[in-house]
């Protein structure tokens, strides 16, 4: 069993590798398609002649295209994706210094939306056709059409400006140098509005998937058996039906990471959250091409990896999946 499983994981990982390399090649093509000298896309556009000469040699820009591609891939394998001139540091250093706030925002909203979505979906499925079910259906429908950036603006207007319950922008109150518990509370207060903004779309998705999954499971024979054993409604739902109904939710969450990144970027701009989205926005304004390409790579790699993790997770959760076969 375990050797089969590890072989499966290895095989899936090896399938992800060509995708990663293809993304790198797309990046390389983009660098050469862009107007102007490609050196500016690798080294920024504010350097002096000696600096450009050094970067030209490093990326082999005087050599034929194929050699350049090989050099680009070799550099990428060593984590060297160019130099951000706006920050005067290597691209990957700049990016990783901005990962924690985005991770906090994405992680909390994913957790909250998944938990709440499963609850709402279960309530909805149990009372299918009722008032609560119909209200939830209308709510999810609107959530699908709701752009994160507009929802964020509405929340700021309502809860920050009019009601004054939450701070308007940022991650911490810069006027107070709080530490320990006070710092935690401060970040939490700043986190609630952007987290809600980002969570809504995924909440709608999870609610809808849980509901339809449960509706299907509740008509299965094993559910009738569970009732016949004398289990209560709650026991049947939580111990039996829900476990099977949640499989599509796992897939959807795994495939949602790219969308989540997009949402996070837009949310961060509205709330001046100091993460990757803000960095991306600034790099489009300052034309910091190396940084832009680095961010694109990071998101693409995360999407590929999260698909891989989802597939592997799936085999753990669903014993019916035969990983030997594929």
């Amino acid at each position: 069993m375990s050797s089969n499983l590890s072989r499966y994981i290895l095989r899936r990982a090896l399938q992800a590798l060509p995708l990663l390399i293809s993304i790198l090649i797309i990046n390389f093509i983009l660098i050469h398609l862009a107007p102007g000298d490609p050196i500016y896309l690798l080294a920024g556009d504010a350097g002096d002649a000696a600096y450009y000469a050094a970067m030209r040699a490093k990326y082999g820009l005087d050599q034929p295209l194929v050699a350049q591609l090989v050099l680009y891939l070799v550099n990428a394998a060593q984590g060297q994706f160019g130099f951000s001139f706006a920050y005067n540091r290597p691209v990957f250093e700049v990016i990783f210094s901005r990962v924690p706030p985005t991770l906090l925002l994405m992680g909390t909203s994913l957790a909250v939306s998944t938990f709440l979505g499963i609850r709402l979906g279960a309530v909805s499925a149990r009372r299918a056709g009722g008032v609560i079910d119909n209200s939830i259906a209308v709510g999810t429908l609107i959530a699908y059409g709701m752009p994160a950036f507009w929802l964020g603006q509405l929340l700021v207007i309502t809860f920050a400006f009019w009601l004054g319950w939450f701070p308007i922008q940022g991650m911490v109150d810069v006027r107070q140098d709080s530490r320990g518990l006070a710092y935690f509370v401060d970040v939490l207060r700043h986190l609630i509005l952007p987290m809600t903004t980002l969570a809504l779309l995924h909440l709608a998705l999870v609610t809808r998937l849980t509901r339809s999954g449960l509706r299907q499971e509740l008509s299965e024979d094993y559910v009738r058996t569970a009732y016949a054993k004398g289990l209560s409604n709650v026991q049947v739902l939580n111990r039996h039906a829900l476990r099977n109904a949640l499989l599509p939710v796992v897939t959807a969450t795994g495939g949602y990471i790219g969308t989540l990144f997009t949402g996070a970027v837009l949310t961060e701009i509205i709330f001046a959250w100091p993460g990757l989205g803000r960095l991306l926005y600034d790099s489009t304004l300052s034309r910091d091409y190396p940084l832009l390409m680095g961010l694109f790579l990071l998101v693409a790699a995360t999407v590929i990896l999260s698909n891989l993790v989802t597939d592997v997770l799936y085999t753990f959760i669903d014993p019916r999946v035969r990983y030997e076969r594929e």
């Binding site: 699908y144 950036f149 507009w150 603006q153 509405l154 400006f161 969308t259 990144f261 997009t262 998101v299």
Partner: protein, 296 residues
């Protein structure tokens, strides 16, 4: 992406299809019976009408200054004015053109590409199928919004660029759906019958397999319209859209510095966006129920 997940889930694989001429009126009868779909269709037609007759409804250049800046709704103008004293109602009506055009054009482009890729992969199988599906997987993992940001930063965010780019990134779901359909249709008796009378493979694909796979494709295209409208708005909100034309994303971008003082600058374009996407999705869901019924 999320919408595609919903859509694929509800497609029924088959049942023997009748000829397409009898299916359309039957589909309309089923469509008419769904209240939500009819409401969606009415709303979508209303918005489309506003976009088409924008010049008559709100004459003049929407970029023109008409009065004092930041006037609230119902004071001098229906929906008030923005920070440059422009009429928000006029901007809103003209902005509908960009959203609807981008939504429709992207859905058409991506459906065209998806039909070619998915149809060829499903019908011919073998190495053609393998190659095309690897390509599809690659396009599926490319983060659309981030690629769009790079391309529009490099080449500018003209409407043409945005449509082309989104069309080139939306097709994988179409291709996969069509491939699955073709795989199941290809084994049917009517395809064998066509082959036995000497019809060529491409002719069979075009005349017999594709028409029967169309309902699934139409629904998918309808749901893509809403997604494409949202991505275009997000790009314009990011300041990377077409700055020569008013669009709802552009208006929301303008509103961002003024949300404390002028809620209406943000409220109305966002509301228009939500109503448009919801109405298009309602029509898509309605088409799904009537063209791909689960209990036929």
């Amino acid at each position: 992406m999320s919408q595609a997940v919903i859509a694929t889930r509800t497609f029924s694989p088959t049942g023997d299809f009748k000829s397409s001429s009898s299916r359309v009126p039957r589909g309309w009868t089923r469509f008419r019976q769904q209240r939500a779909a009819i409401v969606g269709l009415a709303l979508a037609l209303l918005i489309a009408g506003g976009a088409i007759f924008a010049g008559q409804i709100a004459p003049g250049n929407p970029f023109a200054r008409v009065g004092a800046a930041l006037q609230p709704p119902l004071s001098t103008r229906w929906l008030g004015t923005d920070d440059l004293g422009r009429d928000l109602f006029s901007e809103l009506v003209h902005g509908a053109r960009v959203s609807l055009f981008v939504g429709l054009a992207v859905a058409l482009t991506s459906t065209g590409i998806g039909i070619v890729v998915g149809g060829l992969a499903g019908f011919f199988g073998g190495w053609i199928d393998d190659g095309l599906m690897r390509l599809t997987e690659l396009f599926q993992v490319v983060p659309r919004f981030f690629l769009a940001i790079i391309i529009t930063t490099f080449f500018g965010g003209s409407i043409f660029n945005i449509v082309l780019l989104l069309g080139l990134t939306f097709w994988p779901s179409t291709a996969r759906l069509l491939r699955a359909q073709v795989l199941s249709l290809r084994a049917r008796e009517f395809v064998m019958a066509a082959r036995s009378v000497g019809l060529g493979e491409l002719a069979i694909l075009a005349r017999h397999v594709l028409p029967n796979a169309m309902p699934v494709i139409i629904v998918n295209a309808a749901l893509q319209i809403g997604s494409a409208i949202l991505v275009e708005a997000a790009l314009s909100f990011f300041g990377l859209g077409d700055r020569t034309q008013v669009s709802w994303g552009y208006m929301l971008n303008n509103a961002q510095p003024f949300i404390a003082r002028a809620w209406w600058m943000s409220f109305f374009p966002g509301l228009a966006l939500v109503l448009t996407v919801v109405s298009v999705n309602l029509v898509g869901d309605g088409l799904n129920e009537s063209l791909n019924p689960r209990h036929d």
